[in-house]
Subunit: 146 residues, 4 copies
């Protein structure tokens, strides 16, 4: 699997029957599901299997905004790739970019911002230093694509 320009990570998956609709294409909400799966695998590639990178700090990551551009449609049984990268890291939040692709065709582009916060509405908390360090290292070592 080749990686899109600017991405150091992608996760492949195969479209399931239950994810498609009577138009024969993936139901639009499921692209956010694919992004969520991609995010989990990206964290694993960073060395954070479940539970999540913020667990020691007693905080949780919450999605606060997603922008989704639907440009094409995946169909049942197609193998697609979810490319993932960190586009921005702030003090208590960060922004991820996802591209769902079938071969060279960009199907959906998603940009999601997550905030690190205390559970139950306790407010934003600084991102763990280790988390920031790992992302910076990971994104810097993006391999030559091909």
């Amino acid at each position: 699997m080749s990686l899109p320009d600017g991405f150091a990570f992608a996760h492949e998956l195969r479209v399931r029957w239950s994810e498609t609709d009577p138009q024969g294409i993936v139901f639009n909400a499921n692209y956010l599901l694919y992004a969520d799966v991609g995010f989990t695998e990206y964290l694993r590639a960073l060395g954070y299997p479940y539970p999540m990178p913020t667990k020691d700090a007693g905080t949780e990551l919450f999605a606060v905004r997603s922008e989704v551009d639907f440009r094409g449609s995946a169909r049942f049984d197609e193998v697609i790739a979810v490319a993932v990268r960190t586009a921005r890291i702030g003090r208590s939040s960060f922004t991820m970019e996802f591209e769902v692709r079938r071969d060279d065709a960009l199907l959906t582009a998603i940009r999601s911002t997550y905030v690190n916060a205390a559970p139950d509405g306790g407010g934003a908390r600084p991102l763990p230093v280790d988390f920031v360090t790992r992302i910076e290292a990971f994104e810097a070592v993006a391999p030559v694509r091909g």
Copy 2:
């Protein structure tokens, strides 16, 4: 909404686009989802809104077996009814019957057994007396149907 013979309770719902597949019909696993929604509403009719009837006892209800007969198919935007009744009550388990219907047509019949158990594998526990009493009263007062 009329009730099928032998049922004192039914819950109506409308089939969602995301629940149907490229054949244009409800994906088969979603009938178990509909039964779960019907079970929640049946418990509410018994006077048990969430949290569940076993909460005071510190136990949880787990599905241990389901038998599903698929006889017809619901399609997007159809209004269907999930009829629910208790078919058997034992010491620590009970069996529910569900019929998913569109008007007079039986689409799916489900028979599910639940056991009351301590969380985390602690084994079966007797059903709360209050739970058994309410079910017996509810099923006995089934109104004349029509």
Copy 3:
């Protein structure tokens, strides 16, 4: 159910167990599902039960962009409302706004653009005149809220 300012339509639904995650809250992709349900009901209120308003024209509506702001979380068994309005009507596309609310609390705000297009990538087509007329009439007669 009161309507948020500027909205003439809302649809109530109850959060299902299957829609919530181990954090005890609705999985984020399901807010797009709720918006889709709300859009279907909005079209019905306009007088367009399924099949859709573009059927006579042989075209289909495709979501091309969604912006989602997550501000709060719904939990299992809560009754929530999906308020729906048309924010913009263009020649071949239109933009809908959705607010998912629990009582007065705004949980998620969604802004989605749909384009009317020939199936299988045949390109954008003008919105049917009848569709535009109905939306304009519907949005103009928004009742006094309360």
Copy 4:
């Protein structure tokens, strides 16, 4: 991945966040979803990628009955295997057995019967000879497990 006794095929998958519920375990209807994924991969192993083995005959496969025994629970991020075998082949129907396992632990056992039928209620049709031949060959060559 080792195969359970009597099974010549299994497909691995990882539990997604969206498939788990507030108890932290896979929602019960999703085991039927996993069986569906396993069935698709079993057909692929038989040499039938989508579209399905009955396509030339103009018929479709419909699930008519499923029996599900829930014996254990999978949790988020666990890798599980769906073992699949054909338990019975009749003239127009056949029965599949599925075991969802985490390592040696059997989590769910499913037995599902499918019938080959004309679309839109036209009645049962004989299974294609090629389909029967491939299943018999596939099940006979089950490799030594380990």
